[in-house]
């Protein structure tokens, strides 16, 4: 038996290798570096993210495949990897002061972020259920730990424990589903599964269907689809705010990438059936997320429910499928990253020592107290609500346009209605910021300046506006990225 590894094999996973290697370097640097300088660790982390991003961009269009077909670096995975890298880079910029003030084990924090990013990238680039599972586990394990890093905060502990227990439970479902699918098709390679399912006797095998169902449950939990969303508000509220910003955009996008890989590459013969299941999930996810978000007084919790609703919108695009629908997923994932991380960025910046400003009351008159941040928050809220000239609008437009083109009229109507409902709670914060006078309890003076934080918020705002006004560039990339996926199925 001949077996050899070539340079191509390693080139395929070069970005992941860079991140894993640098994750260890960051740990060692924290140990041996002089005076535990947190700023240096953040710069080192950013540098490795940039290096990985550069490696990704150079590999674009080559569609490399490595390690006997377990991983690939096709345009789909590269597009998603660039999204993950943006999430993590923004999170690192947002974290510099927060991590320092709260003394959350500096080196560990940044290296866990890097490992989590590597896990997400593996999820997007695997063609093999085993690799998807390992990538997901690296990501999940890092996330559980990141949630609990405020060790003296009881709610942070609760968040980590809740996430861990429920996450392990959902992982059980996912693994069981993969096992059943393996039992029915005899392979763990996604493309071979699709091949096997084209045979009549495998296709009618109920074991394979049970497997599909359980995989959907497992990913439903990771993406926080209703009815598997119960953990989301508590985990997001209790976790350190920087981690919440990361969790609500990164891992969600990664789970969508892996889900699309499994559904479109592996389970394409079952498309008619899984898209019906997802249709229902998309409707209840959008509706419940928006309706419950209406009632929240805590902005962090409101954003948690809003992230559930946005997962519902993305799911609409998955249901629609085809190049247009899947392209809309890629587009929306990036737009959501910018607006969501930006909104959390403002919350992080206003968090003063020991006290976080998280209720609507705290933001009374904020637009006049700190005009620049007020405008930034205004932009993010408009984008989340899907008002034109923002990335959120361009993304929703892509999703609903593809849905109408494919004849999903009802899904579009329900999605639009939900969008209208969501305007209420997003604009509520704008009303509070600009139309109510600052009270005794609200923020009185602009938050202390911090260059990395302002940079992150400015970058996110610029991203939102760029995607809103010139969406065609990223639309082109996202359409191209899914062209291989849809050509085969």
């Amino acid at each position: 038996m001949n077996f050899s590894l070539s340079a191509t094999d390693f080139l395929t996973i070069l970005p992941e290798l860079i991140l894993c290697g640098m994750g260890m370097v960051v740990l060692l640097f924290d140990l041996f570096g002089s005076g535990r300088n947190t700023a240096n660790l953040a710069w080192l982390t950013l540098l490795s993210l940039l290096a990985a991003g550069y490696a990704d961009i150079t590999m674009m269009g080559q569609n490399l495949m490595g390690f006997s077909g377990t991983v690939t670096a096709d345009d789909f995975s590269i597009a998603f990897e660039l999204i993950f890298l943006s999430v993590t880079a923004l999170t690192v910029l947002l974290s510099t002061r927060y991590v320092h003030e709260r003394g959350m084990g500096y080196g560990e924090y940044y290296s866990l972020l890097l490992f989590a990013t590597a896990g997400m990238m593996l999820m997007a680039s695997s063609l093999d259920m085993l690799m998807i599972f390992i990538g997901l586990e690296i990501l999940s394990l890092s996330s559980y730990i990141l949630c609990g890093m405020l060790r003296r905060d009881a709610r942070s502990n609760e968040s980590a424990l809740k996430y861990f227990l429920l996450g392990a439970f959902a992982t059980g479902f996912l693994l069981y589903g993969m096992m059943l699918l393996y039992g029915a098709t005899g392979t763990i390679r996604l493309r071979e599964i699709a091949e096997a399912l084209r045979h009549e006797e495998v296709f009618v095998n109920p074991i394979a269907w049970m497997g599909m169902g359980m995989i959907l449950v497992g990913f439903g939990f990771k993406i926080a689809l209703v009815p598997f969303h119960m953990w989301t508000p508590d985990v997001y509220e209790g976790a350190p705010t920087t981690v919440t910003a990361f969790l609500s955009s990164g891992p969600k996008a990664a789970s969508f990438a892996a889900l699309i890989r499994i559904l479109v590459e592996g389970l394409s013969p079952m498309q008619e059936q899984w898209s019906q299941v997802l249709w229902v999930l998309a409707v209840i996810t959008m509706t419940l997320g928006n309706v419950v978000a209406l009632q929240q007084d805590n902005i962090k919790r409101m954003l948690a429910y809003s992230s559930i609703a946005h997962a519902g919108y993305i799911l609409v695009a998955v249901v629609v499928g085809g190049a247009e629908g899947l392209g809309a997923v890629v587009f929306y994932a990036l737009a959501y990253t910018f607006m969501n991380t930006g909104a959390f960025g403002v919350l992080i910046l206003t968090a003063d020592r020991g006290r976080e400003r998280l209720t609507f009351e705290d933001f009374r008159g904020f637009g006049f107290v700190s005009p620049a941040l007020g405008v930034a928050m205004f932009i993010f809220m408009l984008s989340l609500a899907g008002i034109p000239l923002t990335g959120g609008f361009a993304g929703k437009f892509q999703i609903f346009k593809s849905a109408i083109d494919q004849g999903y009229i009802w899904l579009t109507v329900i999605g639009m209605l939900n969008s209208v409902v969501s305007i209420y709670y997003y604009l509520r914060i704008v009303v509070v910021m600009y139309m109510q006078p600052a009270g005794d309890d609200s923020l009185q003076e602009p938050p202390r300046a911090s260059i990395p934080l302002y940079t992150a918020i400015a970058l996110a705002a610029a991203g939102v506006i760029y995607l809103g006004i010139f969406p065609s560039g990223w639309i082109g990339i996202s359409l191209q990225s899914v062209s291989l996926l849809t050509a085969g199925g």
């Binding site: 590894l5 006997s68 560990e108 098709t185 109920p206 394979a208 049970m210 020991g354």
Partner: protein, 177 residues
């Protein structure tokens, strides 16, 4: 052979359920050891002796010793031997579990259900070449990437254990609120 499978499967399930129901940590640990042993026996029945041996060494051996150490160091005490309090969430959970179980049994018994096409490594081939050799060769050729990448997973777990469980070093280093 099938008799043995059912014997060990039932024992494994009984062990797993008792881990949930028994309150005394030491008894829980013992029930868990029983489950691990039964699983190892099932692996042997499936003619994968290597996995069975690893199961015994790693789970029943190393991990259980660690569990018992932790239990011993924490010096846990428990008043009630059994925890059989029923609440509405538990009843709903039980109903869902029974539902999924019934569905699984239905699926596995339906006439269309059968084991899918077998791959390259049939039982005959594995027993001819030796299970350990086949597993070892695959791990270092076709599945070398998953095998190596798991080390990152373990590293993350180690970091997590240190971060979440280490002692507070200095008061100034931790958050005040």
């Amino acid at each position: 052979m099938e008799v043995f499978f059912y014997l060990f499967a039932v024992l494994a399930t009984v062990g797993a359920v008792s881990v949930l129901l028994i309150r005394s940590p030491v008894y829980c640990a013992l029930a868990l050891v029983g489950t691990f042993f039964c699983l190892a026996a099932i692996y042997v029945l499936l003619s994968s002796e290597f996995v069975a041996a690893v199961q015994l060494l790693v789970y029943a051996g190393a991990i259980m010793v660690l569990f018992l150490f932790v239990i011993m160091l924490l010096n846990l005490k428990s008043d009630q031997p059994f925890a059989l309090k029923f609440s509405i969430p538990k009843i709903i959970g039980l109903a869902v579990t029974v539902g999924i179980l019934a569905q699984l049994i239905g699926v596995l018994n339906s006439p269309a259900a059968k084991v899918g096409p077998s791959g390259e490594y049939t039982i005959e081939r594995v027993s001819a070449e030796g299970a350990t050799e086949v597993v070892g060769r695959l791990l270092f050729t076709e599945y070398v990437l998953p095998f190596e990448i798991i080390s990152i997973l373990l590293l993350v777990a180690v970091i997590g254990a240190v971060v979440l469980a280490k002692r507070y070093v200095a008061s100034g280093e931790e958050e005040s609120g």
